[in-house]
């Protein structure tokens, strides 16, 4: 086993409680995290940018507020890392792409405003697959993020940097984005908790768009309670996002001890067979047994249409991406490569600025939307999306939550998967949730025979976060100890 860099950070709940009570200073908490960054970030490469000075100023400001008798908020003094596709005012935001290298956004994403307002201390911008397109963070223009549990392995993706930052103890919590599994899969591979909330629960304002009907921002944490705490802080209606659900943030933390007695849990048959590693299947069965032992009723349930999820996703997501990424044209921001005419300048800028995976998806999406193919590909995929929603609806008539693997395997070797289609198969368990707009989360539950973490996925219907977190809390309580 190669050198690992897994950290042992304190939880956000404990940090915030101690800072609010004046028992610990936010500055001390931050320095402990910066010390871990100093020690192992060079090996892990979770960050595109560590904002040391701004973080020290933010921590000092939190301490001053406590000293003045004010309450800085529910995340008081909690170090947080932000995926580098979230706009941060005055702080470079790159999407791990050369086309945005050096770009300084003039505004904060809504989620960034909200974590600041809750008293959190942002420590930096985390690495990702370029424009969030990938499952290993190997597509970053700025280098791969290594898995803190084993540095020869990938951290997963696309939010690999945010998952690794929490796993390595660089920050107590972090934010990522999930279009087809980009929070849950890296959480599973790095052995942390990752949540993709209901579509529309968290504002996407200031999240640089990949596939607008699928993208959703969500939390990473070392515990289910910390993930709930962070989701409460970022959720709730935002007039700046027209797809924001007009409801306040749900109360989650207060339900974590409710237990799962009587909860109806369905194991998704279609995600328990071909293509899933036997170790992963065994941990999901263990997790189901643990929920049953805690009082839940557990049965298998078929959700047939999700077997078409991967195909539908890889038509819909690239189609939306090809449209969203048209804005990177060298005119208003980002890279410009000079050429004779404006059209030639656009071609030269995009060709130099985008990496191969981004180009591949733009090409795929442009093709799927082009004359003569629209109905066969994009239109057909949108109809399959309806079938998936219907089959999920039928399952949720009989079950409160569903259970499945998060990722087909544990973390794989850096460089092991070169073929794009093979890489896409990593998302087979996570994609159906995005197509339906539902919430789902990954909870670490034991390890494979390779000693690496396995993630178990809990899925719930739209706005079913309370039941999902109850099941997650029960799984966490029953999980085999992380560091065996």
């Amino acid at each position: 086993m190669s050198a690992a860099a897994a950290g042992s950070a304190d939880t956000a709940l404990r940090i915030a409680a101690a800072v609010r009570a004046g028992e610990r200073s936010a500055v001390d908490v931050l320095e402990a995290h910066l010390a871990r960054i100093d020690a192992t970030e060079a090996d892990v490469h979770a960050f595109n940018l560590v904002t040391v000075d701004a973080a020290r100023a933010a921590a000092a400001a939190v301490d001053q507020r406590v000293a003045a008798g004010e309450d800085p908020g529910p995340l008081a003094g909690v170090p947080i890392a932000l995926k580098d596709n979230l706009c941060t005012r005055g702080v470079a935001t790159t999407c791990s792409s050369k086309i945005l290298e050096g770009w300084i956004p003039p505004y904060d994403a809504t989620v960034v405003q909200r974590v600041w307002a809750a008293g959190a201390v942002p420590v930096g911008k985390t690495n990702l697959d370029e424009f969030a397109m990938g499952s290993s963070t190997e597509n970053s223009a700025f280098g791969v993020t290594r898995n803190p549990r084993n540095l020869t392995k990938v951290s997963g993706g696309s939010s690999g940097g945010s998952a690794a930052a929490v796993a390595a103890g660089f920050s107590a919590i972090s934010l990522g984005s999930d279009t087809g599994g980009s929070i849950r899969q890296p959480a599973a591979l790095c052995g942390v908790v990752g949540v993709k909330p209901t579509y529309g629960m968290v504002s996407r304002y200031g999240l640089i768009a990949f596939a607008s009907s699928l993208d959703q921002i969500g939390p990473f944490a070392t515990t289910v309670a910390d993930a709930a705490l962070l989701l409460e802080a970022i959720a709730g209606h935002d007039p700046a996002d027209a797809t924001s659900i007009p409801q306040p943030a749900p109360k989650l933390v207060e339900h974590l001890d409710d237990g799962v007695a009587g909860l109806r849990v369905g194991i998704v048959t279609e995600l328990m067979g071909d293509g899933i590693h036997p170790d992963v299947l065994a941990r999901v069965r263990d997790a189901a047994d643990a929920l049953a032992a805690a009082g839940a009723t557990v049965e298998e349930v078929s959700v047939p249409a999700i077997t078409y999820g991967l195909s539908a996703y890889y038509l819909i997501a690239p189609a939306e991406a090809s449209s969203n990424l048209a804005r990177f044209d060298g005119v208003r921001f980002g890279l410009r490569v000079d050429a004779g005419t404006t059209n030639e300048m656009m071609v030269a800028s995009r060709t130099a600025g985008f990496g191969d995976e981004v180009k591949r998806r733009i090409m795929l999406g442009t093709y799927a939307l082009s004359a003569g193919y629209y109905d066969a590909f994009y239109g057909q995929a949108q109809k399959v999306r309806t079938l998936i929603c219907r089959d999920f609806d039928a399952a949720y008539e009989c079950f409160d939550v569903l259970l499945s693997p998060t990722s087909p395997t544990t973390a794989f070797d850096i460089g092991a998967i070169a073929d794009p289609l093979t890489m896409y198969l990593n998302d087979i368990c996570t994609i159906p949730t995005n197509l339906a707009g539902h919430p789902a989360m990954s909870i670490p539950f034991g390890t494979g025979s390779d000693g690496l973490p396995v993630g178990v996925q809990v899925l719930a219907p739209a706005l079913g976060e309370v039941a999902m977190f109850r099941a997650a809390a029960a799984l966490e309580a029953a999980a085999p100890t992380k560091e065996a």
């Binding site: 300084i104 003039p106 209901t198 579509y199 529309g200 009907s213 007039p239 027209a242 797809t243 078409y308 991967l310 195909s311 539908a312 890889y314 090809s322 044209d329 060298g330 005119v331 208003r332 921001f333 980002g334 410009r336 000079d338 050429a339 004779g340 005419t341 404006t342 059209n343 030639e344 300048m345 071609v347 995009r350 060709t351 191969d356 180009k359 591949r360 733009i362 090409m363 795929l364 442009t366 093709y367 082009s370 193919y373 066969a376 590909f377 239109g379 057909q380 995929a381 949108q382 109809k383 399959v384 309806t386 079938l387 929603c389 794009p420 289609l421 896409y424 197509l435 339906a436 707009g437």
Partner: protein, 100 residues
């Protein structure tokens, strides 16, 4: 079932997407896109004539706000990241073939 994507299709799509691909990439992408689209044939083959499409997962319609002007980026802020700006506007190279 649609025909397999060809090298000429890839060149055409690259032009539409404002990307210049060298010969090696055209070759690689043609094979890779063909493999991905082949995988999607399970979806292509379904009879879904009676199924309505889902374009969006949450049924929100006509999201409006009051027609009141609010604070937004200043001209200076909007131009701050522009590769080239002049007289308060984004500057681009000539749009037509020859400079005037």
């Amino acid at each position: 079932m649609s025909a397999r994507i060809t090298r000429d299709d890839v060149i055409h799509v690259a032009t539409l997407a404002r990307l210049a691909l060298d010969d090696e990439r055209i070759e690689t992408f043609t094979g890779q896109l063909a493999a991905i689209l082949e995988h999607a044939q399970d979806v292509e083959a379904l009879d879904l004539a009676d199924v309505p499409p889902t374009s969006h997962p949450y049924p929100l319609v006509n999201v409006l706000r009051p027609d009141v002007a609010t604070a937004t980026l200043s001209n200076e802020q909007a131009l701050a990241a522009a590769p080239q700006a002049e007289s308060g506007r984004f500057r681009v190279p000539t749009i037509l073939g020859e400079a005037p």
